[in-house]
Symmetry: C2
Subunit: 244 residues, 2 copies
């Protein structure tokens, strides 16, 4: 047996997130079914993380084990021929047998896309959050800088998933104008449940002047979820890169 | 009463085309309901053409009549606040009372987008046709040039809609590489049912060498639907411009 790392991209609109669950269509389920179909044997696929319902991935990584004689290139083509159009395999390579898509990952980058309502284009509706006012980039990036570093991000997370520690290290956080979009990029060694969407909700409140650019200090000091912004909608969120 | 011209853009994925029909959600129905809601009175909206289920519009024009004191700018904003995100009003202006969205139109331009399967991106799946081989632009544009002019396009149409004449004048037809996409642009004074999708299907057969770049000559001579290519899928098709 050899271990294969698949790099995929998906439009999450039609899926209840990555992780297999009963009575719902998930990316992991569809990919695992397609892999099993192409290999002719039931094969589990292990992902680098969960993504929520409606969240997309420009780059998502997962691994699987298969017979040594499976040719990577033909396997990639075979997979893309059976997968639905909203999941695309971009890369397929053999890795060492102790590689693990989740535990070997050193970090990940997400991007959250927003678009001014007045620039709203019906073709963006699944891939960006419409906002009413221009972003105040100075204020937002002051806030973004203030969350870089190692902090307890419990106030920037939703309950509902149990993790041992809520301390994470954010290595980069910045909002940038890109064409019609204002995009918040954030990299960290790991992310809590809804962490990016709450950080973006807080950044948008900072942009509107509802929260101070310095608000993170008090949020970290009190660990109070109520002091942070709301959880923004999933459709603007993309897993963008996985670092190994 | 005054007459207003609305310029809209829509993602046709969720709609059974433009035209109101029983037991199906259409763009005309949703727009007419929204207009009636904002104006507080039942108001019909007349479109520049029909579009098929799943077809999109970068620019679609329609007219309606309303009280003289309706302010255009506020009306546009009000409409966008009640419309779903996949229909956007881009422009709103008063026109003369004898203007008619359909009968005043001198012509229209459509664009059909294709994308190489190997460049396939899951975020394009609703907005382009995946194709397996690079386009042979020389061959395709030779075919495109051969259909420019006034011809009986009955062989490039599907039965199912009754029109008095099947003669149309194509004023421009060209396929161009634009980023990851190969896009066929076609302008004419009018289009028959499925005309663009059959012309594109024929162009793709020419690209693959299944049909000769000169095939239009025989198709026009015989008026034989069977000699043209198949009707390609709707998701790559966009109404792009309306000429008045």
């Amino acid at each position: 047996m050899k271990r294969i790392l698949l790099t995929i991209s998906y439009d999450g609109t039609s899926y209840h997130g990555w992780q297999i669950q009963p009575n719902a269509i998930t990316v992991q389920q569809v990919l695992s079914d397609s892999v099993s179909n192409v290999l002719g044997t039931n094969t589990a696929v292990t992902g680098c993380s969960r993504t929520d319902a409606g969240v997309h991935a420009n780059e998502f990584c997962c691994h699987l084990d298969c017979a040594d004689n499976i040719p990577e290139n033909a396997f990639l083509k075979g997979l893309n021929s059976v997968l639905p159009n909203d999941i695309v395999v971009k890369g397929c390579k053999t890795v060492s047998n102790d590689f693990h898509a989740r535990f070997s990952a050193k970090g990940k980058e997400y991007v959250y896309r927003t678009i001014l309502e007045e620039a709203k284009n019906p073709f963006y509706l699944r891939y960006a959050l419409p906002i009413k006012k221009e972003i105040d980039f100075d204020a937002v990036n002051k806030f973004c800088n203030s969350i870089v570093g190692t902090h307890d991000f419990v106030a920037f997370s939703s309950s509902g998933r149990t993790v041992e520690s809520t301390v994470r290290t954010v290595t980069a956080c910045e909002m940038r104008k890109e064409g019609d979009f204002s995009n918040l990029y954030i990299s960290a060694d790991g992310f809590l449940y809804n962490m990016v969407r709450i950080i973006v909700g807080t950044a948008l409140d900072v942009s509107l002047g509802k929260l101070s650019p310095d608000c993170a200090e008090e949020i970290f000091a009190t660990n109070s979820r109520e002091k942070a912004g709301k959880t923004v909608a999933p459709q603007g969120l993309f897993l963008n890169k996985v670092f190994y």
